[in-house]
Symmetry: C2
Subunit: 536 residues, 2 copies
């Protein structure tokens, strides 16, 4: 058995059922081993490494397993890099294996060879290594896989010289998994005391809550405290972590919401320090003390000095803190926040009337109405995401995946990875700009008949840039370099063999969504032509 064959066996031992790959000649020993092998893992063909990496990321997030992308040399690693950043921001367990030239060739001026390949990936991984000896290959692979599971999770990369794949491998070490750290008892006690002392606490549900299946634990803490719960802001959102039908659900976290200024404790529950867009746009309400629950010790304190910090496993932290509080009364506080939130939702609905112009917001409100709280969602729609999240219902745990990375195109491949992991239909809400960043995803979903419905909000614009220019210089006639119209998105999907329809208007969108098939029916695309305004 060659090392390539043993490598496949090692991946199977780790429970890896899918590997995402767009191969080149340096992967030939692996392909030879695949042709000879019975049993998993299945190698899933992609036609661009950006799809390999975003699929592996979506797969890892949705399955709780490791997402493995097998890339081709320095150019493949480069092509996958932007979405590797997305995986890093999401703390996704993505392992990159990359084939490189053989060790007799690497020192020379060689095709697709950079003597500094690992440098390019290093900023976006927690572990980067080149296999040095064939006999250590299986151990290096195992160590790379393991590193992606060490908490806080980060991607990892291993480069594999081609000749080592054909050589005699050493022994594969046993499968091991990153151990969870519980929080320190003293930190938990301090947190409970802060909560007891707070009269107007507010919770923010971060993505770690969904990641660890801790939605119920968070709800129990909220109920015990009588504290309203916001879901982390659309800029930070990677997973949705609180039921929208819970009596304490207070809406999407928006730092300038007036009630937040009145809070006397803001609990960031299972999230990093919120991302900053610019110095002018605050990511947190100013002056409100913070209690930060995080699995990453580097997050609390990164940007501000918290009043309390609990570092460790999210489930243990939520349970520990809940046990320690004495359930004081909050008086009118939660009712006031929830009333304000209900008013805000009503105002938003009034501002986006379903019989008005067919803007992106109207399309998103319609979508939220139709799909209800249970559909599996992947969001990468840039400006349309905010209206969708404002109107969205979520009643099913860990059923929404998004990116806080700003790496355009992520949703195209991630949706395919989520569909492969969950074996049910995924609705991927993406912008027309996003489609152009991830066209090759169409090939893979078509070939594997993956149950992905791409819902493309097509405004023909880089709307985020237009909005930014409006802010910087007011309304004007011309917004250079923002008009990306001219693509027949439905025809584009059809060229890959994907059934596609184009709709506009509320009724058309409702009808198209009503016809959405089951998981057995392969991919589909709904192009939603909206006007060139986000809100009106």
């Amino acid at each position: 058995m060659t090392a390539a064959a043993r490598l496949l066996e090692t991946l199977a031992q780790w429970g890896i059922e899918h590997v995402f790959c767009c191969p080149g000649t340096s992967e030939i020993p692996v392909l030879d081993a695949l042709a000879a092998r019975r049993g998993g893992p299945e190698f899933v063909l992609t036609t661009h490494e950006a799809i390999s990496v975003s699929m592996a990321d979506g797969y890892a997030r949705a399955s709780g397993r490791i997402g493995v992308a097998y890339l081709h040399t320095n150019v493949g690693v480069a092509n996958g890099l932007a979405h590797l950043y997305a995986a890093q921001v999401a703390r996704s367990s993505v392992a990159i294996l990359a084939g490189i030239k053989g060790t007799a060739t690497l020192p020379h001026r060689a095709l697709t060879t950079s003597p500094r390949l690992l440098e390019t990936a290093a900023p976006y991984v927690g572990h980067a290594w080149q296999n040095l000896r064939a006999e250590d290959l299986l151990e290096d692979v195992s160590r790379t896989l393991w590193h992606t599971t060490v908490i806080p999770e980060q991607p990892a990369i291993l480069t594999i010289p081609q000749d080592h794949l054909a050589a005699e491998p050493g022994v594969a070490p046993p499968v091991r998994w990153g151990a969870r750290q519980g929080p320190a008892a003293e930190a938990v006690r301090h947190a409970s005391a802060l909560l007891d002392a707070a009269r107007r606490p507010v919770l923010v549900a971060g993505s770690d809550v969904a990641r660890r299946g801790a939605e119920t634990d968070l709800a129990r803490l909220a109920e015990r405290l009588g504290a309203p719960v916001f879901v982390e802001s659309r800029r930070d959102l990677e997973r949705w972590s609180f039921r929208t039908d819970h009596p304490l659900y207070a809406g999407l976290f928006e730092p300038r919401a007036p009630m937040l200024a009145e809070a006397d404790l803001l609990v960031l529950a299972g999230m990093p320090t919120p991302l900053e867009f610019s110095a002018e746009v605050a990511a947190l309400p100013s002056g409100v003390p913070i209690l930060h629950l995080s699995e990453d010790a580097a997050e609390p304190g990164r940007r501000y000095v918290p009043a309390g910090a609990v570092v460790g496993d999210t489930v243990a932290a939520l349970r520990g803190v809940a046990e320690g509080v004495r359930a004081p009364s909050r008086g009118e506080w939660p009712a006031r926040v929830l009333k304000n939130s209900a008013d805000r939702h009503a105002r938003w609905a009034a501002e986006v009337p379903l019989d008005g112009e067919f803007s992106a917001a109207v399309a998103m409100r319609t979508l939220a109405d139709v799909i209800g709280g249970e559909r599996l969602l992947v969001l990468d729609a840039v400006t349309s995401t905010l209206p969708l999240l404002r109107f969205l219902q979520r009643t099913r745990a860990d059923s929404l995946f998004a990116t806080a990375s700003g790496s355009l195109g992520w949703g195209m491949g991630a949706a395919a990875g989520v569909a492969m992991a969950r074996r049910e239909r995924v609705l991927a809400v993406v912008g027309d700009g996003v489609v152009q960043f991830g066209v090759p995803a169409f090939w893979t979903v078509a070939r594997y008949r993956l149950p992905v419905t791409y819902l493309v909000v097509n405004n023909g614009k880089y709307q985020a840039v237009v909005a930014g220019m409006r802010k910087s210089g007011g309304e004007r006639g011309e917004y250079p370099l923002t008009d990306i119209s001219g693509v027949e998105i439905a025809a584009l999907a059809t060229a890959f063999g994907i059934k596609a329809v184009t709709v506009d208007g509320v009724a058309g969108l409702r009808a198209a969504l009503a016809e959405d098939p089951g998981p057995e029916d392969g991919p589909r695309l709904i192009e939603v032509r909206v006007n060139d305004q986000l809100w009106q």
Copy 2:
């Protein structure tokens, strides 16, 4: 005037007429300045940074100017990285300007921000810098541009904090240009002496010859020596540097060609050390002494010890060496090499009969026949490139651009950049796999009505991987992960508004090429469906 406005002025002073850009919000100050400005440079909108960089590269190569790509933050730089490698391998003067968040935000956890952004680009540039003070912005931009012109040329990158674009800039330094070094007189004398002593010399024309407009100088040297001239191998070819109708043209350099083993001096004229594919495939004939003419002092000696090396400007080196030789007679040597070469070409033609199966090779032989020696070409067709180059005629200087990087998709954007630089119709010969790596190029060529004809050799396969598997394990029924069929390539182009036809067979291809319009008619695509064999 803001720094952004002065930045545009500075680019204009450097003679830069086009900047390739897919903007995000961090570029808004530049877009604001563009909206207010009259005059160049023109910003050309792309819908993916891979296209921005490959267009800038093609533009730089074809124009002799600097190719500027303006990228968006860390994700934009990541998306452009694979083709930045292509630009580096080609010694292309590509300058990357990248917008990043403002300096008040950068230290925090910020959207699309990596504290180690420049690390990812560093392996592929000669100069990487982040603008530190607004008052140095124009000088930093100028220095970055200048660095791309320093010989041996390499790309360069400057990251620009958003707030510095709105601030008061300092003074722009004058335009400066990389100075050429002439070779040392002693090295030239030694080279001439080696040539005088050689009885069976062979010249290999490298891409630097076309880069410096030195085709005539190389021809004069060859004539003076009576030495046959090969054009560098398809693995190394970036530009075609010798007329195929010259009496001393001996064909494409293939290291295992039998005549090369008989040579007693191999002159690498204006090229780096040949790229190695693997240790089993020699890049140079073994045992033949080498005289290496290079503009990069690090190339001669990188892989072997040359008998002589002339480092410096290609024109000066060719002229100097030619002046020093005493034009000795080579007896039968050149005639024997040329006879062998003519026989080889005849054999190739016999092996690829135009009335046989419509393989990629038959399509490429047909193409070579039809287009003659003058058409402007961009090649990124992977396995089809070798048969095309074997049959190709070239009678026009510096009219062919290819990549030795292996960065798939390069040709899609590069062709657009070449068309913009030369303002005439470019024929881009690409594979179907390449198309999937560069789909967004269709958007830009359609929007700007660029005169590019994409000729897509569609075999539905990763043929290079299939060929490699045949070598490694013989003919078999299954070649996993190589079948990428299922895309209607013509329909894909049509979705972007590009006129497209699908043809198969020699007559169909001839007819489609005969209808190819002039430069005023915008882009076009010819999908050539070939069988699944490269040669038969």
